[in-house]
Subunit: 322 residues, 2 copies
């Protein structure tokens, strides 16, 4: 069993999409564990807080688009571990601009993997996919054997890129691991422009005393994963030899309704107001109903389990937004 | 139950990739059924036989690459049925040039579907995917619920494009059907430059008195589908309302080893010689072992079943090559 505390000490680690929500949280942990951290991102946030600016000063930052194969090659060549978080998120958006989604989310990742194949085939790489590859669940909780039926271009591309990673693993020896993550939330946003996910947007709204908009009755259950637990899963996935070529669900395994989530956000923040509106058509089309992760495999093979319950996670996130 | 004989009479039908092996055979049937046939292909074969030239004279031919969105739009707009056969085949090749495979096989098909969405959302479209989306079978025969684990970039992209078709069906009402076909073979090739598949290449070699090269012992079983049976499946898939949004395995359902296939080709052709060589690495890497289709679903929902046994199919193909 690998101890992540020792594994990352002195390791050269690349985080693509490293200035996003997950990337910043992960990079901070990597730095604490003694890794030499490089982040690759396509834009440098301009309105960063002082703590964030200080943090960014301690890592290497390469500003480049993953569609730029030459720049990607230069950054990838001498890394020992890659967390391949880059990409464009948003299922509804992907359906409006499928060719753009293809370009960033498929071609970009092929660039990263091609650079690994040519310059760095011994690298360990972790790809965070999405629970959206399953589509509407046939049963709950959803395990990794559940049928795959993506319902948006974003999810279809996530599945394609999962397969790219596993194929490059088999063909070229790259140590690839896929995580199908549910809905992450938590502190350490790089400003409003990069808000991430529904839980954080609810909490932000509550903290600012704004309205939280629910579509329909807000009854659909979802699995919200606190960011520290996700970071822990990422760190374990790259450091364990057992995870090579494997795919794991990473979620909270519990699940609450959107309405409960909104109520908890309002309660913890002491502000905000819940408003219900009818389903907009473009969201209804990609709505997948209740979702719950079966995380038994990750518990078993990664020795991982989520440690932060939703109330505590929301409370910590509220504090960070203040 | 729709009678394909009547369904296609007077219908405007587009066959993308229509000058390829499957496309030409399908287009010929469509013409016989009274359809107005347009084929879209990226190149016009130069060394066509007289019967083929005469046939091509009876259909509309649009020479364009499916990556050319504008030309695709013009051809797609007023069709009633599309058989979306265009694309680049070859699993080994796709691993060498993944970005090129992405461009043709993903972006090209998004162009076709985007043109349908904007100009022709009522169209019926059939996409021939591949049994390679299953990867190495976990059990035989393989039904449509078998896990999906593509082992080449080609297969990963076939799966992505399956999902595109089904997603466009759900989101925009396009009547999409996916067929996961096994190894088609048979007459009506458009010259050597467009040889298609392993069975035809064996038969061609035997007819020409050349050697048939087997990798290893040639023991792996495969499911070879005679082209007329595949054309029948394609015609049924587009004409039946039940097939909308559905995915079907289309194969022979029987299966013989590569060695038996080679022996039958030599026997029927009265020539050729079988030679065994060790597995080349690039082919071993994508070799998926024995494969057999479970075609129960297509039998039930399309009323389809293969009618040509392998000996008869090889005999007819031998005649066509002479």
């Amino acid at each position: 069993m690998t101890n992540p505390d020792k594994f990352y000490r002195g390791k050269k680690v690349l985080v693509t999409g490293g200035l996003g929500f997950i990337g910043l949280n992960l990079s901070r942990s990597l730095l604490e564990l003694g890794a030499t951290v490089t982040v690759l991102d396509n834009f440098m946030p301009t309105d960063v807080s002082r703590p964030l600016a200080e943090f960014i000063g301690k890592i290497k930052v390469a500003i480049a688009d993953i569609r730029d194969a030459e720049k990607v090659e230069r950054v990838v060549r001498d890394q020992e571990v890659i967390f391949n978080l880059a990409g464009k998120s948003g299922a509804a958006d992907s359906n409006k601009t499928p060719l753009n989604d293809l370009d960033i989310n498929c071609r970009g990742h092929l660039n990263v993997l091609e650079a690994c194949r040519v310059f760095n085939p011994g690298v360990a790489i972790v790809f965070p996919s999405s629970r959206l590859v399953y589509g509407k669940p046939h049963y709950l909780p959803v395990d990794e054997k559940h049928p795959l039926a993506p319902e948006s271009i974003y999810a279809a591309h996530k599945l394609a890129v999962e397969n790219y990673h596993l194929i490059y693993g088999k063909l070229y020896g790259i140590k690839a691991t896929v995580l199908r993550i549910s809905n992450p939330y938590g502190p350490f946003q790089a400003g409003e422009g990069r808000a991430y996910g529904i839980a954080n947007s609810f909490i932000q709204a509550a903290v600012s005393g704004r309205t939280i908009t629910l579509f329909g009755d807000g009854g659909q259950r979802r699995d919200y994963l606190y960011i520290d637990d996700l970071v822990d899963a990422l760190l374990r996935a790259a450091s364990r030899p057992e995870s090579r070529g494997r795919t794991y669900n990473i979620g909270d395994g519990q699940g609450i309704s959107l309405l409960e989530l909104a109520e908890k956000a309002v309660l913890e923040a002491g502000g905000g107001e819940i408003v219900r509106v009818p389903w907009p058509e473009e969201y209804r089309a990609i709505e997948t109903g209740d979702y719950l992760s079966d995380i038994s495999l990750a518990r078993k093979e990664l020795g991982w389990s989520p440690r932060t319950d939703i109330r505590e996670g929301i409370a910590r996130t509220v504090i960070s937004y203040r």
